[in-house]
Amino acid sequence: MNYFPDEVVEHVFDFITSHKDRNSVSLVCKSWYKIERYSRQRVFIGNCYSITPQRLIARFPGLKSLTLKGKPHFADFNLVPHDWGGFLDPWIKALAKSRIGLEELRLKRMVVSDDSLELLSKSFPNFKSLVLVSCEGFTTDGVAAIAANCRFLRELDLQENEVEDHRGHWLSCFPESCTSLVSLNFACLKGEINLASLERLVARSPNLKSLRLNRVVPLDTLQKLLMRAPQLVDLGIGSYVDDPSSEVFTKLKAVIQLCNSIRSLSGFLEVAPCCMSAIYPICENLTFLNLSYAPGLQGNDLTKLVQHCRKLQRLWILDCIGDKGLGVVASTCKELQELRVFPSDPFDAGNAAVTEEGLVLISAGCPKLNSLLYFCHQMTNAALITVAKNCTNFIRFRLCILDPVKADPVTNQPLDEGFGAIVRSNKSLKRLSLSGLLTDQVFLYIGMYAKKLEMLSIAFAGDSNKGMLYVLNGCKKLRKLEIRDCPFGDVALLEDMGKYETMRSLWMSSCEVTLGACKTLAKKMPSLNVEIINESEQLEFSLDDRLLVDKMYLYRTLVGHRKDEPEYVLLL
């Protein structure tokens, strides 16, 4: 029913910005579908193989901003072999041929080539924003093409990518006429850059709000850059090493005082702890502090710094801060919403840096905590139960005990009760990662209580198929499930095949799923792609259905099998 002219409906739709809502709107009726698709500017594609670029272009001719994700999440941990897929190239080629006026591209876990970047830079005259997160396959030559050809570039944000650095002069490729930069993040690049070019670029970018430098940018350049850009809101420091008595350092101290817009601070890739005091004046205003790439700072340095950060909302830090340091965070940072504690030495269990104590202190001191990523050496049920009492607002709860099947060291029990308490009291929980010794019981709790859960990561847990079934049956909102090294098999996989159509993807590796079961699933569910990744040389796929598969990745798709899979991937 449409009492209004299309233009009015479209105007109303302008206020609906979330992808979920717009998707819902498009399903109401044919008319709304049509109006919605012509007015849609931003599209999010969580799995690049769920749709083809051609269909995207056909449906949304007004597309301006595209977000694409490629490889499965476990690719972050080397569980997905090289060349599995997630190539940007076909997308850029198709978009370039079309009349789409692309302005913004955000990619995660995709393989991006220099050629794609060059084609991108030359095909869309209004291109404004490129964000690459955990991507690979490109070099600084590709970055140079973006710098050189995107005349109205506002944002170039490279986060944690593996980039081959040709030590070219990509930075010098920004033409003198480029004055539109708002955000520049090249912290992940390893090579030298032309410091003079950088200074000139910053000097002619009056709108620059976010600048994240790589480790070759020395302190004296930092000082000059801050002189040019005191309006920065987000700063990533590269190298922060100098003699505190030097003239340059004195100048830096002075200029930092002028940078009272800085709300977000990161980097310190090289750092001399004695220089940190210059930072204290801006700590008062910080809402985000990321010191997770600054192993040069010891626990004491971190604690001293954090004491000045009363307004902090998000803190990413290394575990050398220790339980005591976390206690200081708990008593200082009352606005804290998100905490991430990373291991400074992932393979050395010798130095027990943070334990359950630190987490309990945080939970007691920070009532607004809603997002946690915590790497620790041990955890107890008692601690988790206390955390669950203190914090009922968790949206994301990821706990990683470095020894993957470690029990509660006090009681020698599995951690089922602890995690059970977490899911019971945090009704808004959307993302959960488990670790430690866990039986089927924890999955019973998750299925019972985690009604809003969308993403679950499981490793080395459970006793039987029941565990997986509890989750599949109970978690109605589940979208992504990733499992490794658990005793879940065919019975669990095949019990409710329709469930997978309501999810984005399922990953199971080193479990007890057979080839035959995967084939059955693929046959019954044509809307799913079931991929078997097998890297051992001797395997021939025609072999026995009773064979256990090493890695299985399945995802819903509208477009059937992809055509770009490598040799070691079998599409059933």
Partner: protein, 182 residues
């Protein structure tokens, strides 16, 4: 990860037993025989690992802990840098058929460095003065800094020098006149 393969040779072999038979689930049990199984994991875990296998050495399981490779790599680099601590730079001398490499961290200051260079290339460095550079020798030590500029060795404090120096070049003859000499 080589060690992981060591644990799971059986995983790459084909097994034709029925699901649930001990042979077939061998691979899974293997994988669940994790490092540190022997101590505090408790009764439940011990039950799971009723299968064979000596407790593996402190092996690293692939993809564990779940830290992004990018992050792992950057921590590793920093560790190796700190541990090895070597600061090797190439040294070339005009006229010499091949280059050498020296570790700057080995020397405590300029005198030691010059002695090593003199020994290595059989020449003598002149006398340094701030005003005139090196006097009394046709050989002048120069270095390329982080900005790519060629500088005279000896002008800046030693610490600053070793952090800035990317390579060394011993310039000789008329070319040497350009640097620091009137």
């Amino acid at each position: 990860m080589v060690l992981e393969k060591d644990l799971n040779l059986d995983a790459t072999e084909l097994r034709l037993g029925l699901p649930g038979s001990s042979e077939e689930s061998l691979r899974i049990s293997n994988k669940r025989a994790l490092p540190d199984m022997n101590d505090d994991s408790g009764v439940a875990a011990a039950k799971k690992c009723d299968q064979e296998t000596a407790p593996p050495t402190k092996a690293q399981v692939v993809g564990w802990p779940p830290i992004r490779s990018y992050r792992k790599n950057s921590l590793q680099t920093k560790k190796t840098e700190a541990e090895t601590g070597g600061m090797y730079v190439k040294v070339s001398m005009d006229g010499a058929p091949y280059l050498r490499k020296i570790d700057l961290k080995v020397y405590k200051g300029y005198p030691e460095l010059f002695k090593a260079l003199e020994d290595m290339f059989k020449f003598k460095v002149g006398k340094y003065s701030e005003r005139e550079g090196y006097n009394g020798s046709e050989f002048v030590p120069t270095y390329e800094d982080k900005d790519g500029d060629w500088m005279l060795v000896g002008d800046v404090p030693w610490e600053m020098f070793i952090n800035a120096c990317k390579r060394l070049r011993i310039v000789r003859g008329s070319e040497a006149r350009g640097l620091g000499c009137v």
